[in-house]
Symmetry: C2
Subunit: 357 residues, 2 copies
């Protein structure tokens, strides 16, 4: 009772006055790059936030962040951080392993941006444009897929529905912010040093990233593929509910601040023309088609950042096989590749009435 009163009292969005049940939200890892974006996206999408609790490690506790014009102080995450909360958004890292079960025990639905639970058969892995219904069978935790995977599957889904995808060959061009705020700082500091005749040794990345490419993201695993490359295979199979789809990936870090790009080659069962594909993609949710090459219109990471949609261009038939397509897909991996997708999952929970009152 007192909890409800407190909740109404601290409703940050006016949702309660508008007759919408406000949702109490905890963000874990609030002070990092994805955490900041989660706060921003909750605000921008006007998610009906009741109380907002910002949590992080003790190192970041005490920082002040802003939400809808109000200042909120970051607290150290403890099991009790989740008391009275209904949704817990975990930005990444190991925190969901440590605190996820405590949040679930306290009645929260955990939406986890880390890779900790993504391939757990008890945990739905959700991209709202692709498999929204999977949120319904959650058992407390819902996983947010890897950024490169999210961006790709949003583009694959409508093609799979229309023509059946047999095989995908993807090569990525991944921005440094995929490695968090430290990745951004390293590209910036390193470029500045080089331009001004100085040096800035690699720290976050294994080699200099300024004016270079590093074909190595995350650790190396089976068959000499990186974990990032396997994520694009295994997570896509799970999200698309189709493990027969052939997928092979090469993931590469590039000296771009934000937005991942992907060169995606697709073999379909049924032939699609470029024009049919353009129409299908333009009508699909979460996609903006930018594809008028004669007018020099195609997606580029510099112009796709801070956007919630996935941008698709360079749509071409691949005549090296009977039913082939090439796409160039770009998406802001902190937005749609992380924060936006997580908030969209929370929106589905509200829509489907999946939250404890």
């Amino acid at each position: 009772m007192s909890q409800n009163k407190e909740r109404e009292h601290s409703c940050l969005t006016g949702a309660c006055q508008a007759g919408i049940s406000p949702v109490n939200v905890a963000i874990v890892g609030a002070s990092g790059a994805v955490g900041h974006e989660l706060v921003k996206v909750l605000e921008e999408r006007n998610f009906p936030v009741g109380e907002l609790r910002l949590c992080a490690t003790s190192r970041s506790a005490g920082k002040v962040m802003s939400f809808k014009g109000q200042s909120l102080t970051v607290e150290e995450t403890t099991p009790d951080s989740f008391t009275g909360m209904q949704v817990a958004l975990f930005a990444g890292g190991s925190a969901s392993k440590e605190f996820g079960p405590a949040a679930v025990e306290r009645g929260c639905v955990v939406i986890d941006n880390s890779s900790n639970f993504r391939l757990d058969p008890e945990v739905p892995l959700v991209v709202p444009e692709v498999n929204p219904g999977d949120v319904k069978w959650h058992k407390g935790i819902i996983a947010n897929p890897n950024c490169s995977t999210i961006i790709m599957v949003v583009a694959l889904k409508p093609i799979h529905d229309a023509a059946g995808i047999k095989r995908v060959v993807v090569s990525t061009y991944q921005a440094v912010s995929g490695a968090g705020a430290e990745g951004i700082a390293e590209l910036s500091g390193q470029t500045g040093a080089i331009v001004n005749g100085g040096e800035y040794p690699p720290g976050k990345f294994p080699y200099q990233i300024a004016f270079n490419l590093i074909p190595h993201i995350d650790v190396f695993q089976d068959m000499d593929y990186t974990k990032e490359e396997w994520k694009m295979v295994k997570e896509t199979h799970k999200i698309m509910h189709d493990s027969s789809m052939g997928i092979t990936a090469t993931t590469v870090r590039v000296p771009v601040y934000r937005s991942h790009s992907e060169s995606v080659n697709i073999e379909t069962n049924k032939k699609l023309t470029a024009e049919q594909t353009r129409t299908i993609l333009a009508q699909a949710p979460g996609i903006i088609v930018v594809d008028d090459p004669r007018e020099k219109k195609y997606p580029m990471p510099l112009f796709c950042s801070d956007k919630d949609e996935v941008f698709v261009g360079r749509i071409r038939e691949d005549n090296s096989i009977p039913s082939g397509l090439n796409l160039w897909v770009v998406g802001d991996q902190i937005r749609k590749g992380a924060a936006t997708n997580a908030v969209q999952i929370a929106e589905l929970l509200v829509k489907y009435g999946c939250l404890q009152v």
Copy 2:
């Protein structure tokens, strides 16, 4: 007679004293990025240069360049520039259209780095590691392939010989120096301006290239593929003498100064393991395998520049099809992708005795 005397007199390499017939070489477009590299590569590879004549447009005439410690003045190209020369190396652009026939009439073999004659059925298109014998049927002009194509076919050839290549899906990551000295200046100036809070509008490239990717190299043509993408298809077919090979390409400009990188997916007729592929490539001419991911060893453009070889790493079986491979291929596109390949063709002409004495 007097010509021969003059030639001996001006022999720049000591080839004549060493009993090797010196070769008189004209370089057209000597003052550009590829022209400079041609001079450097002739020197480094100790090509038996007799007289060296440096030619360019009137704008660059009068510039002084150095070869083996001697200063040479750039002349304006005229038909008479080729009198007494045996090999004419054309760095690029339209010069070979204008002066190529005049050079051939004067007994020169033209080695042309432009795309003007590459698909002409009367003109051999040669990568010495792949189709050296094609120099023998030249009718005065030999074409040097597109840089991205050269780098790819050096890696494809030994695999094609061992297992038969059915299909290739390639995505490129191309350095700004592929657009010449102006491309380098634009990345450098633009990055410096951005780092120091200024602006540097695009000129050479259609959009900002610093911290961005541009999926557009050369003009758009059939089926919305760029000319650069079609070059990788059509030139590969011609060089490999196999137009049945399925090839599809997506070419992308990246903010890297030098060396092109390519993510190459290959379907072979006969299955090759990653280990077999590694062995085959390591034994092939012009290739250095850098592939020890656990030790963070893979090719990167920053470390492949100023090298004549093509570097191959990230060699993996692609299990999305029965006989698939993924490679990450990097090569200096001004060296092996242009100047080195041209000088190697000249070396073949000497070896096969194809030059007029």
